[in-house]
């Protein structure tokens, strides 16, 4: 079986992008992902429950993230599941970031930013 191509999934949905971006800093559970996303976007993006947990399921099915077994914080609520980024997930995040970077470069080169 050929390795999956991250570019087939671009552009990423907003929720997917923010989930992957949060998990790039280390494993987290759903509630923390929402809080970090809100912090990162100054409250402009809120991942409401259905979108958030639906997207986590989608990403897990795609192999971009995986549930973390065992070593969750023992003080934490047992119901919380931790998620971690897989190498495919990291590739997906990189591919999207490069795509966005390309767009930003193109925009900066345009007349609006003093390009020619």
């Amino acid at each position: 079986m050929t390795p999956p191509d991250p570019h087939a999934h671009l552009p990423l949905k907003t929720a997917w992008f923010h989930i992957l971006l949060t998990l790039a800093d280390g494993p987290a559970h759903g509630y923390a992902i929402r809080e970090q996303t809100e912090g990162r976007t100054d409250g402009a993006v809120t991942l409401w429950p259905a979108t958030l947990y639906g997207a986590l399921r989608d990403l897990e099915e795609l192999g971009a993230i995986e549930p973390l077994q065992g070593d969750a914080d023992p003080d934490d609520d047992q119901r919380r599941r931790y998620h971690a980024l897989t190498s495919f997930g990291a590739a997906l995040l990189r591919a999207e970031t490069e795509r966005l970077q390309g767009l930003v470069d193109a925009a900066r080169a345009s007349r609006a930013w003093g390009g020619t």
Binding site: G30, Y31, R34, T46, W48, P49, A50, T51, L52, Y53, G54, L56, R57, R79, R81
Partner: protein, 913 residues
Amino acid sequence: MGGHVRLRPTLIRIGRIAFGLLAGLLPPKARREWGREAAADLHQLLESAGRAGGSGAVARVVIRSLMDLAGRIPVEWARVLSMRERHGHVNAGGSRQGWGERVMSMWHELRIALRTLARRPGYAATASLTLALGIAGSVSIFTVVRAVLLEPLPYPDSDRIVSIRHHAPGLDLPELENSEGTLALYAQEADFLSEVAAYDTGERNLVSEGRPERVEIVQVSPGLLPLLGVDAWLGRGFTEDDAGEAAAPVALLSHGVWVNRFGADPGVLGSTVRIDGRVSELVGVMPEGFDFPSPDVDIYLPLYLDPQGPFGAFGLAGVGRLGPGVSLEAAAVQAEALQERLPEMHPGIEADFLEGAGWSVSLERLQERMVGAEVASALWIVLATVGVVFLIACANVTNLFLVRAESRQKELAVRAAMGAGGRRLAGGFLAESLVLGAAGGLVGGPLAAVAVGLLVRHGPPGIPRLHEVALGPLEMGLTALLAVVAGVLLAILPALRWRGSRLAGILRDGGRASTDGPGRHRVRNVLVAGQLAMALVLLVGSGLMLRSFDAVRKVDPGFEATGVVTVGLSLGEGVDGRAGATFYQEVADRVGALPGVASVGLANAVPLAGGSANGGSFYVESMPRDDDELPPVAMYKAVGADYLESLGHPLVRGRALTRGDWESGEPVALVNETFARRFLPNDGLGEAIRWDEELDFARVVGVVADVRELDLTEPPRAWAYLPLVVGEWGYPNMDRAYLTVRTQEGASLSAPSVREIVAELDPTVPLTSIRTMEEVLAAETAGTSFTMTLLLIAALTALFLGSIGLFGVVSYVVGQRTREIGVRVALGARAEEIRALVFRQGIGVVAGGVVLGLVAAFGLSRLMASILFEVSTSDPVSFLLAPVVLVAVALLATWLPARRAARVDPLEALRAE
């Protein structure tokens, strides 16, 4: 904050239940994979929203999460279906083609549905209009709730602005706001507040170009507009210098006054007007739509706050802005702790005194303060009510739908036989119900707009921000959402009942075999019982409101309101007491000479209609008290001769005040019965009281009946009535006065003649109001009657829909059993027996609905406690009468089809086969 404290857990519970119900529409696979986790997450989200932002924030989270979930449901179903497709057809080409096919087949189903419905216009119209009513009711009330309760106030970071209030249950005074003393405490010591400001509403006489007018004003401390984050639109706001003790008088105009009175002329800036006699410069105009603290404000004046000001005069409203990172809860705790510093700042205030008075402070969001807990509870209750009506409407249409599906069973069976799978048939139902839902939404949306227009125009005066109400994109979204929810709800039961496998037998036996099984009508019976139960809940609710309204109306105000007109006039602030009283008395005497006038009284405040009454601690001559003892507190106002007689305010013992009393300057007073009973020995006559240690004691010469002076629904307080002019010892604030004019029977007071009289004496004095006492009393009950009317409309709609449902089911059963009934008649059954047979069918359903409804009503009516007056939430009258009404209507709905059944002609019935 009362209502909100109870409201928040209720809202959270409602939110979780709604989320759970909506999640029930997810495919089971998705529910397993992430539904439970999302629900647990929502719980946490709601709790933290409740802690951080109050009930408004909770409601916002609930709505956004539900909309998010609703959007996710079709996505999840598409996933499940496309997966099945992929498993079913190997190499079918992935999901893209599956999607295309599905869209085509859905389109196909929709076209079929449209055609089917077009062939049955009566059914289609009934169903979609019922849904439209349910949707319009829910959307229109939601619009009001959003604008009034959920939409933040139009100031930057308005949820950080808090209102500061104090409470002292140990003193028998109305709610305490702030004094210069408390404000200085917060301004100097409260580091949890980044800004503190104050305002005070009132009225003034405005004279510009020689025209006098009574205007609503707000005095604001210079920090208030910056605290709100609002600047003058033209010109400038107030500076600290404007509010100095000896500052030149300046004023800001509201946008409305600037347009209406000053012709929107920017040149008025720098010009002067007379406000209560003081020449004031107009320095600015506020932005359009700025309506703090109410839309009635005409003019803003600077408010001077003396940092050394007294602790004891609580007339100022205080607001603060929370410091960075400080939560409302933390601020409230710190504010309470700060109260210990009061004795330090105000040497006259002992810690024991504060403790004895039960002194405390409360912070609440400015928005909650503006709306008020009572209005908020009433709105939530009405919203819940229309939500129930929406559910009843859905149940009703589902019933119609089931009946329709049954009459189509042969057609469905043929489709099944020709290879349509269960999913395909379900798709057919869904298409049809979605078309109905969409039609309901298309009609319901505009209907909601009309309803909102009516509410805004005819709503009671007590609902703040009502003028901001308008249908917005959120309401459009809600309309669409309800239309889809209705569409999906309608299709669920038929789709379950008519799964392909069940249809196999129908063709075999000509569509008759299964018509008479005992479980046949269970689903519809349960639906109808549910509708009747919900209708009963609403009937009980409106019964409670009716009883409450009745109780408010029956409150005896204590005086004879019929035939009394109150006339307000004002000389403006700072008028000399004796000069003022003389002027007003002159007006009163001349009005008394008008034809048709029986008597005219004079006072600086009239019951329920406002004025300048005061309150505070007082001294009784015969009962000296220790300094650390809690002083008794009572209200007082100034009245002239003939006041009691003109108002019909009964004298219980002793004598009334005479004109001689204020001409002689002899200090005398009247007290009401509550005052005498609570504070004075014996019958109170001959005792002496005073409110100020520097003034003479006033001798009590008469005791009058208790009158509801401030609020019709609160128990009477202790009041004293002092003469209008009291020489050297007088308190009266004579900036305004009210005439109480009793007209002779059949006569009425001529407003133009009164105006003429005042203008003759002084053309710069405006009449502030002319209202009959009956109007004043009616305004007191306006809020209750508004809520009552809405609930009653909702309850009657529910009753109507529920009875239609019952009628439909029983009629249908009669139709189905015509043959059986024919046989019975042929075998000699009498008409009564047939009627009883059909009746029994209906009675079971009605009984189920009544029991279910009473249980639910018993639980839910407790939520209404805060808006009821002198009616228990388990009021036996409401709980007895509501079921009687319901049963009566329900019996009629069963009786009509039963009568038809009894008239079945056996020959016709048998021949019809």
